[in-house]
Amino acid sequence: MEFEDLKVIWDSQCDQPIYGINEEGLHNSLRRKSKRFRRLIFWQHFQTYCGGGIMFAAIVGLLILNASGVLGEIGSSRALFGWEIAASLVALVCWLQFTLSVFLGHQRQKKREQVESTSLRDDLDKEIKQIRYQIKTRSHIMLGFLPPYLGGVLFITVVFGATHISYWVLVPFVVLMIIALLFESRCQQRMVELKIVPALAELETLREKLSH
């Protein structure tokens, strides 16, 4: 058989489709998937911005109460010392930095997704770039999470001081936070080693095949 004969065999399937589609099933599956995706994105944004918003409101509220003199009159609390005001401001900056970096990260991701690729090779390059970015962010997860953890500890220290709660109560709290940070970092590292790096290697092999 020559290639032209193979082409005739190939074209014969165009006369009638070889499959029937369950259209209702297909639309249900598409609806389900896009709903799940939208919900996931919503919760990711909600958690980050809500956490940032609550901390922002709490710290600014505390500073306003202190500046207006109300803080010293609530129960057994006292007005903030100078270093406590400075610590509160540092905590505020830490949380703003974290929330803003997450927001900017989402925006960058959105932009990347909107870029039109013109070939399969472009698609692969885009995916490889995206995976490398994920590896990079996950490798520095400790640094990424350090500002909100530091901000949280500073804020609680200030609140404990102003309300005369012993600083010793802070110790288990700080230990717990350090363990949580280490645990989170280890989980992300394992994810990179077991899932993301193998996926990247496969994509790079494909990319290589397209290059040679």
Partner: protein, 170 residues
């Protein structure tokens, strides 16, 4: 883009180019469960790609590229997770094969295509569908010369195998 508009375009594309998706399904997945799974994956990617389409290439080229990309990604994922596969319920099946359309020669051709690697499979499908080397190169991100060399090798391999088949009456 409004969801209604996206839905309209998607349905139009699916009605006009479903044959193309079927070909990719058959070349990359080899049992009804996998074919269903891959078809679902491809249609999801085609649906997601609707707002990104700017009309710079023909719709068929665009859908082919999205389909290949989904199929290659799906093949890799499938290899990794084959053991963890979840059975799709019968009533959820998206594709039903029309058994009266069985063609042994076409079956043989698909079998030959399935023995190629993922990239060569994509190139072969485009070649058999009559795309020029230039169009294939543009779709895959390859040079025209490279496409020519690759496809000549594939053509040679296919014709040699078909001659062996004829000789042995398989």
């Amino acid at each position: 883009m409004k969801p209604n508009e996206q839905q309209r375009i998607f349905e139009e594309w699916l009605a006009q180019h479903k044959g193309l998706l079927f070909k990719v399904v058959r070349a990359y997945a080899f049992n009804s469960h996998d074919q269903d799974d891959l078809f679902q994956e491809m249609t999801t990617q085609v649906w997601n790609s609707v707002p990104r389409y700017r009309g710079d290439s023909a719709v068929s080229t665009w859908i082919y590229r999205v389909a290949f990309y989904s199929a290659i990604g799906w093949s890799k994922k499938e290899k990794r997770h084959r053991d963890k596969h979840q059975e799709i319920q019968r009533e959820d099946r998206l594709l039903s094969q029309r058994s009266n359309l069985e063609n042994p020669q076409l079956e043989w051709l698909y079998e030959q295509i399935s023995q190629l690697d993922e990239i060569d499979r994509s190139l072969t499908l485009l070649m058999l569908d009559g795309f020029s080397y230039r169009e294939i190169g543009k779709t895959m991100g390859l040079s025209q010369n490279y496409v020519g060399v690759k496809l000549n090798r594939i053509k040679k391999r296919l014709t040699e195998h078909s001659k062996k088949k004829d000789k042995h009456g398989i």
